[in-house]
Amino acid sequence: MEVQGLGKAFGPHRALEDVSLSVAAGEVVGIIGPSGSGKSTLLRCINHLEQPTSGRVLIDGVPIADPGGREPSAKELAALRRKVGMVFQSFNLFPHLTAVENVMLAQVKALGRPKQEARARALELLERVGIADKADSRPRRCSGGQQQRIAIARALALDPRVMLFDEPTSALDPELGLEVLGVMRELASDGMTMIVVTHEMHFAEEVADRIVFMADGRIVEEGPPRQVMRAPRHERTRRFLRAVLDR
C-alpha cells in the first residue's frame, strides 16, 4: 500500500501536509505523535472516510482516487473500503446486532457471501479473537476489550489487504487493552499488513517493523522502532518521547 503526497485541509486548517508512506505486504507500521498531529486524519484519508485534499492512495498499485480530479464514486469507495479494514478507538460496533451478526453484516451485504458461509467465517474469526462464547450477545453485554475484539473480527471478515487501527486500546482499562494487543500481536505474526496509531510505546516498539513519528500534519521521522524510540534524530521526536516516557 502506498500513500503519495497526501494532504488534507479543514477550511484554512491543514491537518495533513504532503504525507507519503509506503507499506509493504506483511509490514506493521506504528504511528506515534502528539494529539492533533493528524494521525487519525491520515488513517481516515487512507480509506476515504475523509476525502483527501491532495495526493493519492494506492493499494496493490491501483490508485483509489485522484483527488484534484474527480471524486471516487460511491461504488468505488465501497469497493476500496472492503480492501481496508478499520478499527476505531470507540469500537463502533452495531448495537442492534449480535457479535456474530456484526461480523456477518458486511460479508453478506457488501461482499455478497451466502449467509451460511458468512456465519461460519464469523464464528471462526470470533474464535480466533477468543470470544466465541459471546457470539450471540449484543455488544452492550460485552466488556470493552471484548467489543474491540469483535470489531477486529468484523474488519477481518472482509479479508482486507491492510488493517488500520486508530488507538484501539486507548478507551480501555490497561488489562482489557492487553487482550486486544494480544490479538493484534497475533495478527502481525500471521503476516497481516497493519498500520497502528497508538500511544502504547512498548507495544509499538515490540510489534512494529517501522515507527512513523508525526507532528503538525507531517511525518517528522521514521525508521526501525529501536532507532526512532531510543535514538531519535529530530528534536521534535525527542521532546514527544520525553513527555510520553516521563509519565
Binding site: 465501497a78 479494514g85 442492534h96 453484516l105 458486511a106 451485504k109 457488501a110
Partner: protein, 217 residues
C-alpha cells in the same frame, strides 16, 4: 332526551372515515417525510432551503386553514376534490412536515461513529441506511411518531369543516337535529378514546420491545 349510549351507534358510522383520514394522512406523511427530511439536510443549499420552507410553511399555518385551502382553494382553480381526499391529502401534507422533523431527530440520535463504521466495512450508502442507521434511528423515531398519530386522530375532527363524514361531522349533524349537545359530544369523545387508548397501548408495547432489542441480548 336520549342518552350518551344512544348516540354511540349512529356516530360509530364515522369511525371508518376517521381512521381513513388518520392513517391515510399518516401514511402519506411518513412517506413524503423521507424526501423532505433528506432535502432538509441536503448539502445543496437551494434544496435545503426548499425543505426548510416546506416544513415551516406547513407547520406554521393551522391545519384547519390548510384544509380550507386544499378544498375551496383548489375548487376555485377549477380542480374539484372530494372532501375525503382533500382531508387525507391536506393532513397528509402537514404530516409530511412533522414526520420529516421526527426523522431528522432520529438520524441525529445515531452516533456519527455508526456511519463511519458502516462505510468502513464497505457498505454502500443505501446499505448503510438500511442495515445500520434506520434500525437504530427507528427507536428514536417511533415514540414521537406514535404520539403524532394519536394527535392526528384528534385532528382528523377538523376534516368535518370541509364535509368529510367522520365522527365529529356526524356528531355535528346529530346536534343540529336534536339540539342535545352534551350527550352527543360525550359519545363522540368516548369513541375517540376507544380508538386512541389501544393505539397508545400498542405503541408503548412496541416501544418497549424496540428499546429492549437495542439495549441488550
Amino acid at each position: 332526551m336520549s342518552s350518551v349510549v344512544d348516540y354511540l351507534g349512529p356516530l360509530s358510522a364515522g369511525i371508518g372515515n376517521t381512521l381513513l383520514i388518520t392513517f391515510g394522512a399518516f401514511g402519506i406523511g411518513a412517506a413524503i417525510g423521507i424526501p423532505i427530511a433528506l432535502a432538509r439536510s441536503a448539502r445543496w443549499r437551494p434544496l435545503r432551503m426548499l425543505g426548510v420552507a416546506y416544513v415551516e410553511l406547513l407547520r406554521g399555518i393551522p391545519p384547519i386553514a390548510w384544509l380550507f385551502i386544499a378544498f375551496y382553494g383548489l375548487a376555485q382553480l377549477g380542480i374539484r376534490v372530494e372532501s375525503m381526499p382533500a382531508a387525507v391529502g391536506g393532513l397528509g401534507a402537514i404530516s409530511g412536515a412533522y414526520m420529516a422533523e421526527i426523522y431528522r431527530a432520529g438520524l441525529r440520535a445515531v452516533p456519527h461513529g455508526q456511519f463511519e463504521a458502516g462505510r468502513a466495512v464497505g457498505l454502500t450508502e443505501s446499505g448503510l441506511y438500511r442495515h445500520v442507521i434506520v434500525p437504530q434511528a427507528i427507536v428514536t423515531v417511533f415514540p414521537p411518531a406514535m404520539t403524532y398519530v394519536i394527535g392526528l386522530l384528534k385532528d382528523s375532527a377538523i376534516a368535518s369543516v370541509i364535509g368529510a363524514q367522520e365522527i365529529t361531522a356526524l356528531a355535528l349533524g346529530e346536534q343540529q337535529q336534536s339540539f342535545a349537545g352534551l350527550p352527543i359530544f360525550l359519545a363522540a369523545g368516548i369513541i375517540y378514546m376507544a380508538i386512541g387508548l389501544p393505539l397508545g397501548g400498542i405503541s408503548r408495547w412496541v416501544d418497549v420491545r424496540l428499546t429492549r432489542r437495542l439495549a441488550d441480548a
